[in-house]
C-alpha cells in the first residue's frame, strides 16, 4: 500500500510538469501573451513597455523563461498580480476556502441525492420512480450549469424571495445561518450535473449487485429487504462510485467558475473570471495550475480510496 502510494505520488510529478510546460507553450503561441494588459494600454510608451518586459524577464530567450518560471513555481512563487499588487499565491489562498466550501457542499449534496435516487430507482427497475428519475437526470445532464443557476436565481430569489440571490453573506451578517442561506442555490447549481450523472451510475451498479449470488443468499436467509439493500447491495455498489467522484473534479472546477460568476460567490472561479476581464495573467496561470493539481489529486485520492474500500484489490 505505502509503495503504491509513493509510486502514484511520484507518477503525478511528471504529469503536473507536463501540464505546466504545455500551458507555457500554449501561452507562447498566443501573440501578446503575458504583457497583453500593458501592451494594449494606449498611454504606455514604448520605453515603459520595454522596461516592464525587461522586469518581467520577457526579453529573455523563451527556454530560459520556461526554466525560470518552472523554478519559481516549484518554490511556490506564482508571481505578482498585475491588478491586486500582491503575490498571486496570497490572492488565491484568500478565496480557496470559499470555493472548497461550495464544492464540498455540492459534492455531499450530490452523493446523498445520487444514492437515494439511484437505489430507489434500481429497486423497482422501469417502475414509475425509475422512469421519472432517469428522465430528470437526462435533463440534468443536458442543461447548461449556468442556465440552471440563472433559473434558480429567478425563481427562488427574485420571484419568491425565499433565498438571497448573490454573494456569500449579507451586509453585516456572516454567521453560520447567513452563509448557509447564501449557499443553498449555488450548491444546488454546482451539484446538478453530478446529481444526474452519479444517480444513473448508482442505479446501474445497484442493479448489477442486486443480481449477485450473495444478495440471493442474504434474501434466502430471510434477511429483511432494507438490510439487504443497505448492507449488501449498497456497500458494493458504492466502491466504483468513488472513482467517478474523483474523475468528476474537472466538472466541479468548471462548475465553480460558472456558479461563482452567476451568484457572485467570492471564490476561485469568481477570481478567475475577474482576472479574465482585466487580463491579470499571473492570477490566471496560477489558478490554471491549481486546477490541474486538484484534478490530479482527485484521481489520486479516488485510486487510493478504491484500494482501501475494496479489500479484493491489492497493489
Amino acid at each position: 500500500m505505502t509503495r503504491f502510494l509513493i509510486r502514484r505520488l511520484l507518477g503525478a510529478i511528471p504529469l503536473l510538469l507536463g501540464v505546466a510546460v504545455l500551458s507555457f507553450v500554449f501561452m507562447q503561441l498566443a501573440p501578446g501573451g503575458p504583457d497583453a494588459l500593458f501592451a494594449r494600454n494606449a498611454r504606455m510608451s514604448e520605453e515603459q513597455l520595454q522596461a516592464i518586459r525587461h522586469n518581467m524577464g520577457l526579453d529573455r530567450p523563451v527556454p530560459e523563461q520556461l526554466v525560470t518560471w518552472l523554478g519559481n513555481i516549484l518554490q511556490g512563487d506564482l508571481g505578482i498580480s498585475y491588478t491586486q499588487y500582491r503575490p498571486v499565491s496570497e490572492a488565491i489562498w484568500d478565496v480557496v476556502p470559499n470555493t472548497l466550501l461550495l464544492m464540498g457542499t455540492g459534492m455531499v449534496l450530490s452523493l446523498i441525492a445520487a444514492l437515494l435516487f439511484g437505489v430507489l430507482a434500481a429497486r423497482r427497475q422501469n417502475g414509475v420512480f425509475d422512469l421519472v428519475a432517469s428522465f430528470v437526470s437526462y435533463f440534468g445532464l443536458a442543461m447548461p450549469v449556468f442556465w440552471f443557476g440563472l433559473m434558480l436565481q429567478l425563481l427562488f430569489a427574485v420571484r419568491l424571495g425565499w433565498l438571497p440571490s448573490a454573494g456569500m453573506s449579507s451586509a453585516g451578517g456572516g454567521g453560520f445561518w447567513d452563509v448557509a442561506r447564501h449557499l443553498v442555490l449555488p450548491a444546488f447549481t454546482i451539484a446538478i450535473g453530478s446529481i444526474a450523472g452519479w444517480s444513473r451510475y448508482v442505479r446501474s451498479s445497484t442493479i448489477e449487485s442486486l443480481n449477485q449470488d450473495y444478495v440471493r443468499t442474504a434474501r434466502a436467509k430471510g434477511m429483511d429487504e432494507q438490510r439487504v439493500l443497505v448492507g449488501h447491495v449498497l456497500r458494493n455498489a458504492l466502491i466504483p462510485l468513488v472513482t467517478v467522484v474523483g474523475i468528476d473534479v474537472p466538472l466541479y472546477l468548471t462548475g465553480a467558475v460558472l456558479t461563482e460568476t452567476v451568484f457572485s460567490w467570492p471564490g476561485m472561479g469568481r477570481l478567475f473570471f475577474d482576472a479574465l476581464t482585466v487580463r491579470d495573467y499571473p492570477i490566471l496561470m496560477g489558478i490554471l495550475l491549481l486546477g490541474a493539481v486538484l484534478i490530479v489529486l482527485g484521481n489520486l485520492i479516488a485510486d487510493v480510496l478504491y484500494g482501501v474500500l475494496d479489500p479484493r484489490i491489492s497493489y
Binding site: 507536463g18 501540464v19 501573440p31 443536458a142 447548461p144 446501474s204 468548471t254 490554471l288
Partner: protein, 316 residues
Amino acid sequence: MSANVTLETAAPGKLAESGNAASGLTALTPSLTSRAPRSPGQIAAARFRKSTLALFGLLVITLMCLAAIFADALAPYGENEIDLFNITAQPSTAHLLGTDELGRDELSRLIFGARVSLLVGVGTALVSTLVGIIVGSFAGYYGGWIDSALMRFVDVILAFPAIFLLLIFFSIQGSSVLTVILFLGLFSWMWLARVIRGEFFSLKERDFIEAARSIGVPDGRLIWRHLLPNVGAAIIVSTTLNIAYAMLAEATLSFLGFGVPAGTPTWGNMLNAARPNFTTVPLLAIAPGLTLTFAVLAINFVGDGLRDALDPRGRA
C-alpha cells in the same frame, strides 16, 4: 466529358468488389437463419427504430437542422434587425418571444442561433474525431514507445482544466467561430483515442489482421481498411456525443463572454446578453437555455440509441 469516362472505367471494378462481398454474405446467411438476409447496418437500423427516445431525438435534431438551414425564410425578422420602439419588450404578436436589449427579435435570433450552435457542435466533433482516430490508431497499431509517449500525452491533456485554458487563451487572443471549433476539438478527443487504442491492441492479434499483414498489405491500408471499420461503432457514438458536449462548451464560453464574438447570435451569447435584464424579461434567458437543453437532450438520446443499436454487448 472526360471526367465521365474515367468514372465509368473506374466504376466496374469497385462494383464487382462490393458485389462479391454482398453475394458472399447472402450465400451464407440463409443457411444460418431462415429470415431474410440483412446487413449489419440494417440490423442496427432496426434496433435503432425500436428506441422511442432515439427517434424522438432524431426528430428534434432534424427540425433544428431544417430551422438552421432555412433560417432566412423562417425567421420573422433579420438576425440583427433592430426595433427601436420595442427594446426588452415582453412577448407580443409582433415579437412572439419578446425582444432583447437592442430591440432584436428573440425568436429570430434563436432560429439564427441554431446555425452557429450546430456548426460549432458538428465542427468540433469532427475535429475531435479526426485527432482521436489519428492518435488512437498510431498508439494502438505501433505500440511500444510511440504508444507510451502518446498515452502520457493523453494523461497530461486529461489533467488540464480545459475550460480554464481556453478562457485564458481567448481572453488574450480574441476568438472566432473557427478558433472555438478548433480548440474545443483539440481538448475533446482523448476518450476516443483511448478506446481505439484499446480495441486495436486486441484486434491486432486476430487472424484476419495476421492474414492481411502476411500478404503484404501496407500499414496505412491495414489501419484504414481492416482495423478502423471494426471500431466504427465507437467512432460514431463518440462523434455524436461530442456534438452535444461541444454545443454546451460553446454556450459556456460564450456565456462568460469569451466564446463566439458577441454580435453573432448563438444561444450562449443570447444568455450572456440576457443577464442584465433577465429579472424583468425572464423569457430572454429562459428561451435560449431551454432550446439548448432540448438540443443537447436530443443528441444524447440519439447517441445512446446508436450505442445500443451498434453494440448490443454494451447494453446495461
